[in-house]
């Protein structure tokens, strides 16, 4: 796969992605909370912010043996400090992604996609959920599909991320027409139709932020 672009320095990139997500999650606390309040219980923003605040506070102490160790350590911090549904789900996602990066210093496009697919499988299993249940999977899965396609089409990372972000945003907005079948929103049944899923929009916002700050070239 010499024609796919290569991301240099797996650890540096993992750090950049995690730091960006963490800062954005803290910044968006109120907005994410308000999304979850429509048919959920309003704490999605709070939970995420408290967890990633901790990651930021402990930033210098995170294991930096390699990208895999780094992500695994972040996963442990998340499960230890995010409560609610998001703690186990996001923790599992980072844990699975970390497992795919263990011992690597460089990650190719295929590796990144594989790590993300691992995260998705982890979320599905942990949450007993799938695409269409009106969860963050409804933004994450199409976003990863598009990322893979963009890489396959030869786009560079910055461009591929932009494509991924657009897909995530579109898919997140589209959750509005779905009826929730998982999580607290599912208790609303039909009343959940007409508003977007908080987790899906959250994922879109975070991917957009990563796409924006990603250095050109």
């Amino acid at each position: 796969m010499t024609d796919t672009p290569t991301i240099d320095s797996a650890l540096a990139n993992a750090e950049l992605v995690v730091r960006t997500i963490a800062e954005e999650a803290v910044a968006q606390e109120e907005y994410f909370g308000s999304l979850d309040a429509v048919v959920g219980d309003g704490d999605f923003g709070y939970s995420l912010a408290r967890g990633f605040e901790f990651v930021i506070a402990e930033w210098d102490n995170i294991d930096r043996t390699d990208a895999g160790a780094f992500l695994t350590n972040v996963a442990v911090m998340i499960t230890g400090h995010i409560g609610g549904t998001s703690g186990p789900l996001w923790g599992t996602a980072f844990l699975r992604a970390g497992a795919h990066c263990m011992g690597r210093t460089e990650l190719g496009a295929a590796d990144v996609v594989e790590a993300l697919r691992g995260a998705i499988e982890g979320i599905k299993k942990r949450g007993k959920a799938d695409v269409g249940d009106k969860t963050l999977l409804d933004a994450l899965v199409p976003a990863v599909d598009e990322l893979e396609a963009a890489f396959a089409a030869g786009k560079d990372t910055k461009a591929a991320l932009a494509t991924m972000a657009r897909a995530a945003r579109e898919a997140a907005e589209a959750t509005s027409s779905l009826e929730a079948r998982r999580g607290r929103a599912s208790y609303s049944g039909e009343r959940s139709i007409g508003s977007v899923d908080a987790g899906a929009v959250g994922v879109a916002v975070l991917i957009e932020r990563v796409a924006t700050i990603w250095p050109t070239n």
């Binding site: 959920g40 219980d41 967890g51 549904t85 949450g127 079948r181 999580g183 607290r184 208790y187 049944g189």
Partner: protein, 331 residues
């Protein structure tokens, strides 16, 4: 938002500190894991019973730690299951030689966290079993595969297994008893107002001045339907109409009845409602073996109430009648 609160992020820790300071002889507080536990735990002569859940339902569960009830409670933040670490550390600290029973209300977040914790603890060689409570009839099992929610009926499971554990029952026996109680316990609630989470600072949902939410969840989740306010008699009919056919409870049954306040409703109204329900049940041929009126499982400051019925048999009734002592006391 007008509450007794300083920094909303410290709402749960400051409340836990208050509980600990009010009960220096009987309780211990471990701030790092939001843990309130009996001063004498672990007690290796009994199974350790731990409940975890989101906060905001007090007295459940941090104020129901004590002899004959829980050995420990590790709550998460308001309406959020505790992070995995809180649970695993709690289990490690309190594990008894007779094993650990985890009581969990059936919500996605709580299920996941406690399933993970059970895996971790079992890997550490600890004997741990988990019991999920799902008494809320307002959510239909068939429609939503996440299953029913655990609400105020939780109290009866806690009380029964708490008493049995004190009497020396082993882990298998406790699981059997807990499942038996859960199987005959049914609850439905009604909200008169929305609740306001401290960190949010405004009501979680909109409810008109003349509206109520029938079948509301204890995290402000919507219920079966939005209705116009109605007199207490009609509310009693709504609640009984949902609960009785569900088990079903049948004329001649001996039942325990709980009228549980959701946090913002004064006890005067709860007794008024209890009187109505008692008479309706008696009219339909039920015998009320035990009754409970007060705040047991709240939804922060929500005005409203839930009704729980438990079909009694001799074993359950005896366990409910056993003595117990917790932070919530009158004298």
């Amino acid at each position: 938002m007008k509450k007794f609160v300083n920094d909303p992020k410290q709402f749960v820790p400051e409340m836990l500190r208050g509980i600990a300071l009010a009960n220096p002889d009987t309780l211990r507080y471990v701030p790092a894991y939001n843990l309130i536990h009996r001063a004498d735990a672990p007690n290796h002569n009994k199974v350790t019973i731990i409940q975890g859940s989101g906060s905001g339902h007090e007295p459940a569960h941090v104020m129901t730690v004590g002899r004959g009830m829980l050995d420990g409670a590790c709550p998460g933040d308001v309406f959020a299951a505790p992070p995995l670490d809180f649970i695993t550390e709690t289990v490690k600290l309190l594990a008894s030689d007779k094993g650990v029973l985890l009581l969990v209300n059936n919500y996605t977040g709580d299920r996941m966290a406690f399933e993970m914790a059970e895996e971790v603890a079992s890997a550490d060689g600890l004997e741990v079993r988990t019991l999920f409570i799902d008494d809320d009839v307002s959510v239909k099992n068939s429609t939503y595969s996440v299953g029913r929610r655990g609400v105020a009926g939780n109290f009866f499971v806690m009380k029964a297994v708490g008493a049995a554990a004190e009497n020396g029952a082993d882990l298998d026996e406790l699981v059997r008893i807990g499942e038996a109680v859960n199987a005959v316990t049914r609850t439905m609630g009604v909200a008169l107002t929305a609740c306001t989470p401290p960190a949010k600072g405004s009501p979680l949902f909109e409810l008109g001045d003349d509206e109520i939410e029938v079948g509301v969840g204890i995290h402000g989740e919507p219920g079966r339907r939005r209705a116009k306010w109605m007199p207490a008699n009609d509310i009693a009919d709504e609640l009984l109409g949902a609960i009785l056919p569900d088990l079903p409870f049948e004329s001649g049954d001996r039942v325990a009845v709980m009228v549980n306040g959701l946090g913002g409703t004064p006890i005067s109204e709860l007794y008024l409602l209890y009187g109505i329900i008692h008479e309706k049940l008696a009219d339909q041929g039920f015998t009320i073996g035990r009754n409970y009126v007060g705040d047991y499982c709240t939804s922060l400051d929500m005005a409203g109430a839930s009704l729980t019925l438990v079909k009694l048999d001799d074993e359950i009734e005896l366990l409910l009648a056993e003595p117990a002592e917790i932070a919530i006391r009158v004298f």
